[in-house]
Each structure stands twice: as structure tokens, then as C-alpha cells.
Amino acid sequence: MNKTQKQRVKMLQNMIGFFRASLNPWVIRVKFKENPERVAFILHRVSGAIIAFYLLAHIIVTSYTDDPLAWERILNTLSSPWNKVGEWILATAIIYHGLNGIRLLLVEFFGVGIGRPELPKPPYIPPSFKGGQRKALYAVFILSIIGSILSAVLIFTGKLPI
């Protein structure tokens, strides 16, 4: 976009601000059954933020000291029950983000599972919602719930029941 185009696409005074505009994903009310991709998008963003925050905190904690005794003390403070809940949330976020990421890579870079253009006929369901990506999305949801439960068992009891 060059400068003149930018001037032409200028916003008026009464355009809502960036903060309120950022709330838009949560404001629009479409049913889950109708558009689960939107829920997937919100979860993907939230889980991505959690992972990014963890990565930052992880780098700070691990580079805090190189003294073994001090490191032991840090590990002791990190093994409190609240940190275990945090670990579980992190594990869930990583599982969901990874699985949904595979689906998004396939859809966005290779156009897999979005159907072919067709003549609109009732009931009017867009081809991209009838294709394989919708099934893949439900699979992602189910697999990440299973993964979340398994990781909860592993984190809170220390071993898997299998």
C-alpha cells in the first residue's frame, strides 16, 4: 500500500479504537455448530499467547543462575501445586496448538480440505465447511481433550495409568 492509498484508506474519528477492535473475535455471536473455526481461531491465539509467555518465563528462570544449590531452591519453589496447574494448562495449550497448527498448515499452504467451488444449492453450506478440514477440526478438538486428560493424570499423579 503506497502513501496516497494509505491516505485514501484513512479512518474517520469515530472508528472504534484498537483495544475495543481487538475484542471483536469475542464480540461476534455465531453459533459453535455453525462456525467452530472461529472458536478454533480464538483458542489458537490464546494457546499461542500462553506458550509465548511460558517460553519467555522459561528462558528467564533457566538463565537465572548457574549455582546448583540455588537451582535446587528454584526447582523446589516451582514444584508447588499451583505450578502443577500451570504446567497442565501449558501442556493442554501445546497439544492443542500443535494439532491445530498441522491442520492450519495443510489448509492454508496447500488448500487441502476446503472443497471445490460449486453451484449454491439449499441448504446453503459453504464448500469450505463441508470439506475435510471441518472433520479434521473436530478430530483436533477430541484429540486435544484426550491429551489434556492424559497430561493431567501424568502431571498430578506422576505416572500414566496405561
Partner: protein, 310 residues
Amino acid sequence: MLEAEELEAAKRTPPKEVILKVKRYNPETGKQYIKEYKILTYRGMTILDALNYIKENIDPTLTTRYSCRMGVCGSCGMIINGKPRLACQTQVAAVATEENPVITVEPLYNIPVIRDLVTDFTPFFEKHKMIMPYIMRKNPKEVDEAEYEFLMSPEEHLEIYEYSLCIMCGLCYSACPVTASDPEYLGPQALAQAYRYIADVRDEEPEKRIVVVDTEHGCHRCHFAGTCSAVCPKMVDPAAAIQRLRKITLFYRLGLWRKKKTSRVAGPLEKPLRKIEAQYPTHNLVEGADPEKQAKEPVSIDFTDEMLSE
């Protein structure tokens, strides 16, 4: 996309009285406020009818924009009960029930508001212009001084037919979570139209559009939330178009994509058209009637004095 449930609900009789909560904006005072209107309904009433009723009978200052009243012009897009819809296509019965007769009406999101429910589409149309929504040929005379049409098979037409239904109502644009956070993002409508012209066999210069689209504010900004396709009243499916566009741009940058086929100009006919002599029907005539003779006679209708006085 109209839900099957909503279509079912639209057949019902709406609640006798509904409350419309309209989000209003006055540019003179710069105030935004919500005003409630109680109106009586009738069977088959749309939200646009309700707003016009308010304007005519209760509050003449309420401003809306509409033109065709039948979902073709795309002027009356607004957020009804939290979802972008066309006011003329939404029945009151589909959004209000006896238990909850409250309908909220807001101007479209992501688009600056001029007054009340009227939004300024200038940025939206500028973005549409940026992707050059017209057929470009290597030889511009083929379009400017066109003598013959371009050839296109029905299958090739079906490839782009879905996307050519767009009426530019801005519902996808206001539903898109990416447009909300990036005002320079081209938007689902413009990107779907870009794909429509890139995939069109009559168009010869897809590279020009790929350059416009392949930026950080272009198709790569999309995160496939899919709401554009879910709210589209004309079943355009912009979400799929943007994903195909990304695939094309990726392969184009790798040097693996080029347009498979461009159509040629039809040219003059090889054989002259067959001439068919028109004949009057003979099998179901009134007895004694001669159609050829009747056709030559001038038609005269006798008006009575009563008819003329009316």
C-alpha cells in the same frame, strides 16, 4: 449462509410486541447511546420494516440506509443480535421469541460510522479497487474495443461463479477478527474478488494481482476463522478463496505456478446462423380465425366512458 433453523423460525409468527435496542451515534454531539423502541409486529415483518416503521411513526431522526429491500443491493448490512446480517433478509420471527423479544441492532463493526446505522464504506471500496476488479488482457483493445466475446466453458464458469455473486454488503468485512486488529488488511471481500479474477480464464495478467495480494496486509494475514463464509448472505465462501489464493502465491513465489489456461477471443462465426421461418400456430385456433389476417389488422380497444373517467 442462512441457517436451516433460522429459515424454520422465519415461518413462525413473531411475538406480538418486540423491543428494538438500536445503537445510535450522533456526529454533531459525538455521543453514542442505545435507544429502545417498542413496536407491534406482523407476520413476515423484517428488521428493515421495523426500522422504517420506527422512522415513520416513532422517531424520525433514526437514520438507516437501504435501497432494494430484497437482499440484492447490499446497503442494509447491520449487526442484528450480535451477528452481521442484511436487515432486509432477516425476519423478526427469526431473531425474536416470545420469551426474549429483545433485538439489538448495531452498525457494522470495523467500518467507521457516519450516523446511527449508516457506515462509511470508503476504505472498503478503496480496498476493492486495489485488487483491480476487472478483466485485464495483454492486448487491452480486446476489452476496450471488444468486437467478440471471450470463450469460456460452463465448467470454467462454475469455478468463479460462486465468487461473482458478491454484492459488497460488507458483512464478511465486519465479521472478520483480522480486519478488526489490522485496519489495512484487505479484507475477505477484496481477497475473494482477487481470487475470482486470478482464476478467471478470461483474465491474462494474474501476476499484477498476486503482487498486490502477497503482502503482510494481504492474504497471508488471514487466520482462517471462517466467519466470513458463515455470515455471507450470498454463499460466496471467501474463506476458501483466500486459502486458494495463499496456495497460489506460495507456489508462484517458488516459481511453480503459472496460469493453466487463458481463453481466446471467440472471433467471427464459422457458419452463418440458421434462419428459422416463424409460423403461426395452427393446432388450437378458434373456428374461422385467420391469424395472418388478424396480425395485419390494427388493434382497437373500445373504452367505455366509465373506464375513462376512472
